[in-house]
Every structure is written in structure tokens, then in C-alpha cells.
């Protein structure tokens, strides 16, 4: 069933920018990463949820820049940051247990493999790295992304995804290049191009905006969704259509490209339904949006807006509840009643 009854159920405002969120499916709490450099536990099941900050260890207090990604692997959280570091955290003690100097530039995203054994990061050093969760050991480092744009400016490697069967990794950069990798051998197996997601303004403003901000494989691993923002006339603002492209993973053929001019901005996150029939996207410009598309026809089935640009989301196991990390707030949405 395609959800058509998306409703906001709760909103918790804050002063900071929340970039990433992970849900504890068993205990009604979420964890999120903040612009104040902290990781927080947030008990959304309580009447008045309070933040509880994770703490450092010894002289190291945690991250020293925006926390851009957080995943759960067993009884640990692993977070990444623009400070170039990965940190392992003990969930029960809310304390740092391992710290890795992981990349030479901002870390943009991380994902955990379906079996929870590995975590995969991408950063503005344009490298994708695979880490062993149990030890923090680097297993592989690879790249198919140019450090410079065609216009001689630093490029950025924003997005990474792992397929549900654990066989494929996708990485996407600022200029719209996606590389697909064998997740076991780390050899490149394919690529797709989504250049419309990168706007270079050669005349009026002479810089660029955009990039691939989100990637997600369908549950059967056969399709790859790529999200960002379409062409922008005035690149001072995120005043362009939210853009989603869907490719056949094996052939690289573009199956769909969708643009939404009603709710403009970046698509920051993509979630495929378990049956592959619909896709949920979230992101925004100054404010946020959540949009649900029919994955076959591309029809926009349902859409909601909210105050605050959405940076990340986490769904519970039943797909009934959706927790959103956004600009100066966390929100909870329900999709329970669907047609």
C-alpha cells in the first residue's frame, strides 16, 4: 500500500541544526547528531523528552564540528563529522569507546551494512572507505570521483548507499557522477550520470550549487534512486525543483526522472518501500518537505511540508512512524493509516 495519510504527530524545537537521526526500535528513543558537535539521546516516548548528551573519553570530548551521520551497529552508535573523524559510542553508557581519524576532509555520510559488520563512509577527500565495526580497522579505500569540478573548484562526495542484500555500494558526488561498487571486492561495476543535479553558473554568479545528496537502492537491489536539486536560475538560494532520478542498477539506464516545483530544494534522504512500489523523499530549502512517489509511474502520491529544512529521517520497522532531523527541530510523522 502506498501511504497517503502522512501526518505530523509531534515537534520538538531546539536552537541547533540536527543533521542526522537514528532510531532505537525497541525502546522508543532516537539519537541525533547536532550542529553543536554533540550526539544526543532523545526519549521520544516520554511526555517531555529531554536530551542526554553522549560524553567523550579522557581528553577527547567527541566531535569538533557538525555531526553529519549516525548509524547503529549492535550496541554501538557510530557517528561521522565534518571534523574528519569517526566515533564509536556505547549506547548504554552514552560514552565514546573508539575514535578514528578517518578521512582527510569533511565526512558527509555513513551507512552500515545490513549485517552490521561494516560501516561505509564518504568524504570530501573524494574517497569511499569501508571500516570494520568490531575493530575500527580500515578495510578498503576507493574512489571514482574527481577532486576538482570541471570548472576547477573543489568537488565534494556527498552520498553513499548500500543495497539491502549487501552486495552493492553506490557513491555520488557534486557534479552528478555516481559510481557503483561490488561491496565485497570493492571493484567498480557500473556508473550513472545525473548532471542536472549540478548547477554551474558560468555567467551571473560564477560558482556552483547542488550535487547528489542522497542515494538509495530498492529493496531488490535492482534500482538506484538518486536525489538532489534540479537546475537553479538563481544559485544564491535553493530555489530549484527537488529532483529524483531512478536508474536500473545493472544497466545504468535511467528509468524515471521526477521534478517537483511545488516543494523546492534538495532531496536529502530517500527511502524505498519494502515492496519497491513507492519511494519517500525528504529534504527542503529553507523549510522542509516529505514527498511520496509511486515508484513505477513517478506520480506524486502525497506530500507534506514542515518548518525547518529536513536533513535526515529514520523509520521504525513497521514504517508507521517517521522521525525527522531538521533545522532547529525533531518531528515525528505517522504513516499508519494507508490505503
Amino acid at each position: 500500500m502506498i501511504p497517503t495519510n502522512l501526518k505530523r504527530k509531534a515537534e520538538w524545537k531546539s536552537q541547533d541544526i540536527l543533521f542526522c537521526i537514528e532510531q532505537d526500535h525497541a525502546n522508543g528513543r532516537v539519537w541525533f547528531g547536532s550542529s553543536d558537535f554533540n550526539i544526543y539521546e532523545f526519549d521520544v516516548a516520554s511526555e517531555k523528552p529531554q536530551r542526554k548528551a553522549f560524553s567523550g573519553q579522557g581528553s577527547r570530548q567527541g566531535h569538533t564540528s557538525y555531526v553529519t551521520g549516525i548509524v547503529r551497529a549492535g550496541e554501538q552508535l557510530i557517528s561521522c563529522s565534518y571534523d574528519r573523524h569517526l566515533i564509536w559510542w556505547d549506547i548504554d553508557k552514552c560514552q565514546m569507546i573508539r575514535h578514528v581519524d578517518a578521512h582527510a576532509a569533511w565526512i558527509r555520510q555513513l551507512v552500515v551494512t545490513p549485517d552490521g559488520s561494516r560501516v561505509i563512509t564518504v568524504a570530501d577527500d573524494m574517497r569511499c572507505k569501508v571500516w570494520e565495526v568490531s575493530t575500527g580497522r580500515l578495510l578498503a579505500s576507493f574512489s571514482d570521483h574527481s577532486p576538482m569540478t570541471p570548472h576547477h573548484y573543489p568537488s565534494m562526495l556527498y552520498a553513499v548507499a548500500i543495497s539491502a542484500d549487501g552486495r552493492w555500494i553506490a557513491t555520488g558526488d557534486r557534479i552528478g557522477h555516481v559510481a557503483i561498487w561490488n561491496a565485497n571486492t570493492f571493484e567498480k561495476t557500473g556508473e550513472v550520470e545525473a548532471p542536472i543535479l549540478y548547477t554551474w553558473d558560468p555567467k551571473a554568479r560564477r560558482h556552483s550549487i547542488g550535487g547528489i545528496r542522497s542515494l538509495a537502492f530498492s529493496a531488490d537491489s535492482e534500482r538506484l534512486a538518486v536525489g538532489g536539486i534540479g537546475k537553479i536560475a538563481n544559485i544564491d538560494h535553493l530555489d530549484g525543483p527537488a529532483r529524483l532520478e531512478i536508474f536500473d542498477r545493472a544497466t545504468g539506464e535511467r528509468k524515471l526522472d521526477l521534478e517537483d516545483n511545488k516543494q523546492k530544494g534538495l532531496i536529502e534522504r530517500i527511502v524505498w518501500s519494502p515492496d519497491g512500489k513507492w519511494i519517500l523523499t525528504a529534504g527542503g530549502a529553507n523549510d522542509g518537505f516529505i514527498t511520496i512517489y509511486d515508484a513505477k509511474s513517478g506520480e506524486l502520491v502525497h506530500q507534506e511540508g514542515q518548518s525547518g529544512h529536513i536533513h535526515d529521517l529514520a523509520l521504525d520497522e513497521t514504517f508507521d512512524n517517521l522521525y525527522v532531523a531538521a533545522h532547529e527541530r525533531v518531528t515525528r510523522w505517522s504513516m499508519a493509516e494507508s490505503v
Binding site: Q15, D16, I17, S35, D36, F37, T64, S65, Y66, Y82, D83, W106, D124, H151, H152, Y153, P154, M156, K203, A204, R205, R206, H207, S208, I209, G211, I235, D236, H237, L238, D239, G265, G284, A285, N286, D287, G308, H309, H327, E328
Partner: protein, 419 residues
């Protein structure tokens, strides 16, 4: 006393050759000493159009809610730290003064541009000249065979030519927009080189006789104008960076801003007193941090390359490099991870001629919201620039019967950043 700058310089040169003691006597005259202090100085303005963020450049606040994600890095000046986005400049601050305390109040592009272009708020009925016009008026040579003022602004957003105002069109810039080579200064294709030279020689022959026989200043001025046009026509080579070695071009890098900085160096080396290179467009209402990653990389490389090149050629001591825009950006980060217009507490830099390098002047509060020490306005900045160049900042132009000081009424130079 109305002293002609060119006459003074020539007189001083002649006197110096004749007698060292006489030269010292000449230097004791304040007016001439001021003229000589200006010497053959030049100015290059790196105009950060649209408004660069002070927090991502010269006044970082990492760890504060307003600070953004970037860190700060140490520089070659003990105790001075700048944004990590400027790693090359971090090792080159010994020739640069950072001013962190501009409060120019106007946060609208058009009005702020005007303010930072003329150094004062406009008045009805008075056309104030912009900085380049004043500098070219003060430092330019009447019989110069190169342009006095070249302005490069190839992006279209925010582009303004500016006006020489009451100084007259003579001090308007050679304004380069579509490409980096001036239009309309080439010999007509329909005319051969020989024909062109012959015509010039014939005109020169009659003109010299005419001047000799008539002894009229207006005729002399007319002749100067012809010579100037000929000079400008031959100055097209200054804009041709293919005449540089590949190493020199590589030094400035492949971006348009880099190429224009290289042209700027060629121009000041040839004696052009004022060059402005506009690097648009920093107006990062959305995605401020991504934009500054791009544009600061360009600024850091090109500004460093320019300072290095000027220094290596012995030009930096007589060239003032100003890095400035119309305003800074808000400490508050908006929903699009952008920063908006902000003129209450922002930064600029002055490098090279007349500047006490390695200094940081002024201070903002912990979040960068307000200036807490050393507040400067546009007039003060202009007074500082003029003083660095040896131009009396309280000099007055007469507009009709009204005296107008070249720096706004009540302005004071910032002595702390002056050598």
C-alpha cells in the same frame, strides 16, 4: 598653492640628480614630501562581490552556534588565527593587516556597494567619485600611456561600473566585462600598420609645429589626449597573459579570477595606479558553507599567488592590495544552511604598501554579532587606504564653491594598521 604632481615629481628628480642636499631641502616641503611619498604606488582591489562571510574567512568563530562547521587555523603571525578555508593565506599574513571591525550598517546590495565604492553615504546633488577614480586622480600621471583605472567584472550579478562623479569622465574605469581584453582599442583591420604609423607621424609633425607656434595650453592638452589614446592602444598587450611564461600562469591557476589577478599584476607593473578585480558572487543565502568551500579556495589561491608575485617582483611595497566586498554575512545560519546580508560586524584586509603586516585590528563578540573594539566605518577605511598610499585623507576637492574632503567628514585613518 596648486601644485602639479607631475611637475613636482620631475622637479624632484632633477634636483636629486643635481644635489643631494638640494633634494633634502625639497623633501622638507610638506606638499612635495607627500607627493614623493605616493611615488609610483598602485592599488589592486579584490572585490568580493555579493558579500563574503567574515566567519568563513578572516574572523572565524568555531564552536559557537554561529560559527559554522569550519575550524580555524594558526597563521605565521603568533596568536592570529583565520578560517581553515584559507590555508595558503595563513602563511602569508606578514604583509597583511586584517580589519575585523567594520560596521557599515547598510545591508542592501545596491546601497552597500555604493557606500563601499565611494566611502560615504550619498547626498542628493553631489556625485561622489568612487575609490578607483580618486586613486587614479591622485596617483595617475597626466601623460601616462597606460590606463589609470582598470576594472574587471566579468560576472553579471551585482555588476556596476561606478562613476568618477565630479572628478569627470577622465577618471572612469576601463571597464572589462565580457572578456579580459579591452574593446575598441585595436587598430582598424582596414588600416595597415604602416598606414597607421604614417598617419600618426603626419599628425605628430603638424601638431608639434602647431603647439610650438601657438603656445596654448589647450593645444598642449589636446596633444596629450592623442598621446594617451596611442598609449592605450598599445597597452592591449598588458591584458594578454599568453605573454607570461606557463609557470607564471600556472602560479595563478586556471580560474578566471586567477587569470584576472595575473592581469592585475601586469597592469600595476606597467604603472596602472588602480585595478579592481571583482570576484562574484558570494551571496550565499543558501548553502553558505558549500559556496565558501568553492569561493574561498579561489580567493585563497589567487590572493596568495598575487601577493607572492608582487613581493617577488619588488612591487608589493608600492602596491596596496585590498580585499573587500559590500558587506559580510549574518552570524545566524538560516534554514538553507545559508547566511544572509550583514553589515554590522565584518572584515576586510589590506596588504602591502603602507600597511603594517601581521596586524589584526578590531574585535567582534564571541558570536560575531557586534563589534566590541575598534569600530570602523567606510569613511575610516577610505581614510586608512589614502593614508597608506601617502594621500592626505583630509585633502579637499572643490565642487563649485563647496570643499569636499576625499575621505568622508569626520573620518580617521586606522593608525594601528599603517606602517
Amino acid at each position: 598653492m596648486n601644485i602639479n604632481r607631475r611637475t613636482l615629481l620631475r622637479a624632484a628628480g632633477t634636483t636629486a640628480v643635481a644635489s643631494n642636499m638640494a633634494a633634502l631641502n625639497v623633501l622638507s616641503q610638506p606638499a612635495l614630501a607627500s607627493e614623493l611619498a605616493r611615488g609610483d604606488k598602485s592599488v589592486i582591489v579584490l572585490w568580493l562581490a555579493g558579500g563574503a562571510s567574515q566567519l568563513e574567512t578572516w574572523d572565524p568563530k568555531p564552536g559557537r552556534s554561529t560559527g559554522g562547521p569550519f575550524g580555524k587555523i594558526k597563521t605565521n603571525i603568533p596568536g592570529v588565527e583565520i578560517s581553515e578555508l584559507l590555508p595558503k593565506m595563513s602563511s602569508r599574513l606578514d604583509e597583511t593587516a586584517i580589519i575585523r571591525s567594520l560596521n557599515t550598517k547598510i545591508a542592501d546590495h545596491g546601497q552597500a556597494y555604493e557606500l563601499m565604492d565611494v566611502g560615504r553615504v550619498g547626498e542628493p546633488g553631489v556625485h561622489f567619485p568612487h575609490l578607483g577614480a580618486i586613486i587614479s586622480h591622485e596617483l595617475g600621471q597626466l601623460d601616462s600611456r597606460v590606463p589609470d583605472y582598470v576594472s574587471m567584472y566579468t560576472s553579471t550579478e551585482g555588476r556596476r561600473q561606478g562613476s568618477a562623479g565630479f572628478l569627470g569622465a577622465r577618471y572612469n574605469p576601463m571597464f572589462l566585462t565580457d572578456n579580459m581584453m579591452p574593446d575598441d582599442i585595436h587598430r582598424l583591420e582596414s588600416m595597415s600598420v604602416v598606414d597607421h604609423q604614417d598617419r600618426a607621424a603626419l599628425r605628430d609633425f603638424f601638431a608639434k609645429r602647431f603647439i610650438r607656434d601657438l603656445q596654448n595650453p589647450s593645444v598642449g592638452s589636446h596633444e596629450n589626449a592623442y598621446a594617451r589614446v596611442h598609449g592605450l592602444m598599445s597597452s592591449d598587450t598588458l591584458f594578454d597573459i599568453e605573454r607570461e611564461t606557463s609557470a607564471a600562469r600556472d602560479h595563478y591557476g586556471p580560474t578566471q579570477f586567477g587569470q584576472q589577478c595575473l592581469i592585475a599584476r601586469r597592469l600595476v607593473e606597467a604603472g596602472v595606479p588602480f585595478v579592481r578585480v571583482a570576484r562574484a558572487w558570494w551571496d550565499s543565502h543558501g548553502q553558505n558553507f558549500e559556496t565558501h568551500r568553492e569561493l574561498c579556495a579561489d580567493l585563497d589561491h589567487c590572493m596568495s599567488a598575487l601577493l607572492d608575485d608582487l613581493k617577488q617582483r619588488g612591487l608589493l611595497e608600492k602596491t596596496l592590495v585590498i580585499t573587500l566586498g559590500e558587506f559580510g554575512r549574518t552570524p545566524r545560519i538560516n534554514g538553507s544552511l545559508g547566511r544572509d546580508h550583514f553589515a554590522s560586524a565584518w572584515s576586510c584586509t589590506l596588504s602591502g604598501s603602507g600597511i603594517r603586516g601581521g596586524t589584526v585590528y578590531g574585535e567582534t563578540d564571541l558570536d560575531g554579532q557586534t563589534v566590541i573594539d575598534g569600530e570602523m566605518n567606510a569613511g575610516d577605511l577610505f581614510a586608512t587606504i589614502f593614508t597608506a598610499l601617502g594621500i592626505p585623507y583630509d585633502k579637499e576637492y572643490m565642487v563649485g564653491s563647496r570643499p569636499i574632503p576625499i575621505a568622508d567628514f569626520g573620518s580617521e585613518p586606522c593608525r594601528e594598521v599603517l606602517a
